[in-house]
Symmetry: C2
Subunit: 381 residues, 2 copies
Amino acid sequence: MKRSVLRQMIAVVSRPGILSFAGGLPSPALFPTQAYGAALSEVLQEDSRALQYGPPFAPLIAQIVRLMARRGVDVAPEQIFITTGAQQALDVLAKLLVDPGGSVLLEERSYTGMLQALASRQPRLLPVPTDLATGINVDTVARYLASGERPAFLYVIPEAHNPLGVSIGVDKRVRLVELAREYGVPIVEDDPYGLLSYDGEAPSPLRALDADWVFYVGSFSKILAPALRLGWIVAPPALIPQLTVVKEAVDLETSALTQRAVGHFLEQGQLPAHLERLRAAYGSRRDAMLAALKASFPPEAVWTIPSAGMFIWVELPAQVDCQALLERAVAEEQVAFIPGHAFALPGCSAGAAMRLNFSNATEAEIADGIARLGRVLNDIV
Amino acid sequence: MKRSVLRQMIAVVSRPGILSFAGGLPSPALFPTQAYGAALSEVLQEDSRALQYGPPFAPLIAQIVRLMARRGVDVAPEQIFITTGAQQALDVLAKLLVDPGGSVLLEERSYTGMLQALASRQPRLLPVPTDLATGINVDTVARYLASGERPAFLYVIPEAHNPLGVSIGVDKRVRLVELAREYGVPIVEDDPYGLLSYDGEAPSPLRALDADWVFYVGSFSKILAPALRLGWIVAPPALIPQLTVVKEAVDLETSALTQRAVGHFLEQGQLPAHLERLRAAYGSRRDAMLAALKASFPPEAVWTIPSAGMFIWVELPAQVDCQALLERAVAEEQVAFIPGHAFALPGCSAGAAMRLNFSNATEAEIADGIARLGRVLNDIV
């Protein structure tokens, strides 16, 4: 196990004075700070169990059931498992599903947190390519399975893939679920961005198509705030007791106070308007970044057009050394991004590429920063 | 891995109408609810990073350095590692220290959370007996080490052992640290109760005697509130980066909001007076329980006299079936405790015994509840 290159890099390039498109940070100006503070005050005043040990908080679970319905997924409270953030969800699922010597199917470029959660189990990683326009290559998944591979699970981010920004269409979702059923291979579906869609509602997640083979992972980090450290798993009810055993061993339980405060915030019906604000702001920032890329980047560069989430993936001519590019961008133009290689599976190449975050900078900063980045890039290409 | 017998049992016997001495719950009436609510409000108002992702919060670490000084331990900020509760501290230390096929030294009757944290590593458990008056049998530890065993670590709760309530004297502390140094075997020292002492200050923890071989685990659950889910490890600075890698994989980071709010609470100097209140209240409850045991329990029963913490351990004549006793106590007298076997290492016996919690009932409830328990017991013995 080694420290996430990504998080180390983010720390380095997030110095004061640097305009950073590096992190995966939501915008703090858009946090529902006042409303959440009020929710905290109210539950502290009214509920003497708010600071005590306690079981999973049923009213929060009821609200998550409603949130899932909004994503087109019909679930029962018994299928919801509360976690201390989505990273813990990935960790407990890795512990539950991956046996020693097992394997896992995941994309060649994927979310580094999943790799970290898997590191202690040391599974064989079966890499799957991703098409920048249509997402995960389902034919490759089918070939692995047809050839006899029986991975512990397939990891997918169907909506606004991190780092690639691509969403997958309904046909591929249906095929993935069919493969899971046919071969008895579970899917871990990571959906932090499904409610942050900018061109109408996102399609329903894979979990809407299958209740038995899909473990859905949700998170409040991007739609409310990361410091809540609150997420959830939708799992078959028979597996909730096993998830409970695993979770007790890692942190006993998730904060009763946080569960109550978020439950209270959601009960007051404040989320829909809040999501509208986020979608409007992040959608405009996405548009600003797409326009700036078109205006400032060399014609050899290509990029994804995300319909949701926080990231644009830019591919550059193969000869560009993106690590060197980052160093020059920081030194000469005080602007930062994450080179694609930070997201590559061990032994895989991410190509010459960069991940750009558009959620944590204003439209003016985006226009300015992408122009500065374009200057360095045009000097190199 | 199976679900903690303890937590299952606590759920069952904590039904409404039951007077429960079963859990390990602090008293919610003594939580600093208002002051912590104020701290939350203030950091939310004043610090835009309070709801964002962020690195470990240096001002909280500075306050923990001061708290450690109060326990007689001189540490540098670089030695403090923030965790999402002490259970996470035990989990990440188990991951860091225990290799496949390794072994761990721990007492025959010990904190079940440590066993749960170890379960996924499946080490050989080397059981050590505990004397109810003087604590862990250091001669047994020495014999294991002299015979060539090299466990990943020795787990100890020097102050107010859970479940036994015993604290160990300075001589044994010194000997344990000498053994750790001599054989190069780390000690994991779990100290949730060191600041909850009722007969003057508790002796300094083992970490005060050695900075290289002792990993100290601290917790805010018992001195502030469990729902904070906030704890810490004191570790050699060279190991902090490795702990960071392990922690990132399990939950990325501990809530920035919680770290800031607890830091703010501590900076205002509110802890000493709060601890005095806790000590006065819990000390009286301990005394009430000791008096009630003397008044109501049969002469064959013996118990520990804790100088700190939350628990009294009662040993009964060998023929008493404590599980049956619990069932009768709940059915006939609506009073609950945890039978000793819930704390026994696999393959070890806890004897005929019960753990009684005195922190979460008033003195009147304690007098009444112990009298009721005594009635059932006198009928059996």
